[in-house]
């Protein structure tokens, strides 16, 4: 009994000694850590060095716009049938004949699917990235739309509404080139392009006739001409710009334009055919 009491006391003493030792060690460690921590108030500078670039705000009171029509002079190209017969599922999915759309001239000599963008005059300005995605669908074994514009770092949403598998392949040269398989009913893909690139040619790795073009622009000032050749680029700050147009078969053209405060500037482009 006496012995066991002694043992308990002894154990208590040992544990007290141990606790003391631990505390001492703990204090020592804390002070070392403390010493090390004091000279470097760490996270603050990294937060300030992060590139926070203010996005450019357009003043609605002075903003103007440019609009016009893309025209074609020359012999109207004959409609060319696209042969999908090697994949009967595509023939069925397309429902109706498919025609080549690389150069479609309207009844009044107008050109749709031309890509128009502000090529220069916006240097030094950074624009907010739209939160809504731009979509491209693979439907009827066809890319819809064929020509589209997107801002750098804006989401491109790729969907497949076909009963067959597609493999979309943006053959980017400035951005990263990639391809991705999408089966029937697969979830949409969400991808981004980080750099301006006019134009990213897109193909389907499975269906050789499927083509699309994506204009990646680091400002919101771009448009695709409608079937009647018309386009409009709104909300431009007053200034002098180079406006450029691209057409997949006919190449590019550009013009100087000046946007006066709160005015609509008209500019047409005319491509000459053979």
């Amino acid at each position: 009994m006496k012995g066991s009491t002694h043992r308990i006391i002894r154990l208590a003493a040992e544990s007290t000694r141990f606790t003391c030792l631990c505390m001492a060690l703990g204090i020592a460690l804390t002070s070392i850590a403390g010493c090390k921590a004091t000279p470097a108030p760490a996270p603050a500078p990294s937060a300030t060095t992060k590139p926070v670039v203010a996005t450019f705000k357009v003043d609605p009171a002075t903003a103007g716009s440019v609009s016009g029509t893309i025209l074609y002079k020359g012999k109207k190209p004959a409609a060319k049938l696209v042969d999908m017969s090697e994949d009967p599922a595509c023939v069925q999915a397309h429902s109706g004949k498919a025609y080549d759309e690389s150069l479609v001239v309207g009844s009044k000599g107008t050109l749709g699917n031309a890509f128009i963008y502000v090529k220069s005059g916006l240097e030094g300005k950074t624009f907010a990235i739209p939160t809504t995605p731009v979509t491209i669908d693979q439907g009827g074994c066809w890319f819809r739309p064929r020509v589209l514009g997107i801002q750098t770092n804006q989401t491109l949403q790729v969907t497949n509404s076909d009963p067959v598998t597609h493999n979309i392949h943006p053959m980017a040269q400035i951005n990263r080139e990639w391809n991705h398989s999408q089966g029937p009913g697969d979830a949409p893909l969400n991808r981004k392009f980080q750099k301006q690139e006019i134009m990213v040619k897109v193909k389907c790795n499975i269906h050789s006739w499927m083509h699309a073009y994506i204009g990646v622009v680091d400002s919101p000032y771009f448009a695709v001409s409608k079937d009647d050749g018309s386009f409009e680029i709104p909300n431009l700050p007053p200034g002098t710009y180079t406006l450029a147009v691209w057409q997949e078969n006919l190449g590019t053209q550009q013009q100087q334009i000046t946007i006066a405060p709160h005015t609509r500037t008209a500019t047409d482009f005319t491509f000459k055919g053979n």
Partner: protein, 360 residues
């Protein structure tokens, strides 16, 4: 007082006591553990159908009639699962060519796994088991799903004790291993031996390719075979190997096809990388056999492709680009007829299964 002082201060004495105790413990454990898991029966030759090589087996587990019969009973026994609901055969169902027809397998209480159940058919020939090759043998593989929390979710100790309560097992373990003691090692070996009998061969393809029957394949299948073998066309045989005397339709290796790559370029399931930590193995999974493939939908490690047509289209398009894409994967120029010929050819790989592999 004196005693306590002696005990607390005499370190050599304390070590001695520990040593004695340890020795006793080791002896007890040693006695209990020394149960041979070597089969005692006569080694048999597993009959091999046309198109397959002889069945390899490890030196310490030659197939015997008794271990195979025991393995068959175990394979179909849900007692190996926590709630007696799930057997090996639940995910490797003989009526579904030893798969479960699900994208992702489900274990006890509907617990979802992360991968598609591969067929056990012809797994005897694979150098590594599981999609990521983490098991070096069928024996090693067999122990894993039993204890896996999202599969059968039962410790090996519990499995051993549950089987021990069934006298029929005592008899079978005795016949197979020489005593009625049940240990996990014996369970593993019996399961592996049974699985070595799950062979599929003598398909239309085998009769055409190895049996000299030139009528065995349809014209579309013959065209599909040529595409399958041609490095400049389908290039399928680069990984799904066809030898001069037999065909396993797998190289047993790991390849990245881009399947499962996310919008951020990363892999949610890193596959072989789990085992090797080698960056090049990110998103790489084992080449599955194509034997009976027409009956083992859905496809790929995540069961994401529903039909053979989708699989062929996936390859025709060059898979999904990513930094670790296998060098054999590229967009291949196959027209619609060629792709459908390949699908037709894959239909010819459905072979005959032995009659004695269903539930005992």
């Amino acid at each position: 007082m004196g005693v306590s002082r002696q005990r607390t201060n005499s370190t050599p004495c304390r070590i001695l006591v520990c040593c004695v105790m340890l020795t006793v413990l080791v002896d007890v454990a040693g006695c209990k553990r020394f149960v041979s898991d070597t089969p005692i029966g006569k080694t048999i030759t597993i009959p091999v159908p046309l198109g397959l090589p002889p069945v390899p087996f490890p030196a310490d587990n030659p197939p015997t009639a008794e271990t195979i019969a025991l393995g068959r009973k175990l394979f179909y026994d849900p007692k190996l699962s926590q709630d007696n609901s799930t057997a090996c055969a639940t995910c490797h169902n003989p009526t579904l060519d030893f798969t479960d027809a699900l994208s992702i397998s489900r274990g006890v209480r509907g617990m979802a796994g992360i991968r598609n159940a591969p067929t056990v058919v012809n797994s005897a020939y694979l150098p590594l088991q599981f999609w990521d090759g983490r098991a070096l043998s069928l024996e090693e593989q067999a122990a894993s799903p039993i204890a896996n929390p999202v599969e059968m979710n039962q410790t090996h100790e519990v499995s051993v004790s549950k089987l021990g309560a069934d006298p029929a097992y005592g008899l079978m373990f005795n016949k197979a291993f020489g005593s009625n003691v049940i240990i996990i090692g014996r369970i593993q070996k019996a399961l592996a031996s049974f699985e070595r009998t799950l062979l599929s061969g003598n398909s239309a393809f085998d009769r055409y390719q190895f049996g000299g029957d030139k009528q065995a394949l349809t014209p579309a299948q013959v065209r599909g075979l040529a595409l399958f073998l041609s490095p400049s066309k389908g290039n399928c045989a680069a990984c799904h190997i066809v030898n001069s005397r037999y065909a396993l339709f797998t190289d047993g290796k790991f390849h990245n096809l881009g399947q499962g790559v996310g919008d951020d370029g990363g892999f949610k399931d890193v596959g072989r990388f789990h085992q090797t930590n080698n960056a090049a193995d990110q998103g790489a999974f084992k080449t599955p056999t194509l034997r009976n493939v027409a009956k083992t939908a859905p496809y790929m490690h995540d069961g994401s492709l529903k039909t053979l047509s989708e699989v062929v289209d996936f390859y025709a398009g060059g898979g999904n680009s990513n930094p670790q894409l296998d060098k054999e994967i590229r967009a291949i120029q196959l027209n619609g007829r060629e792709r459908s010929d390949l699908v037709e050819f894959l239909q010819s790989l459905t072979g005959e299964m032995p009659g004695n592999v269903g539930p005992p």
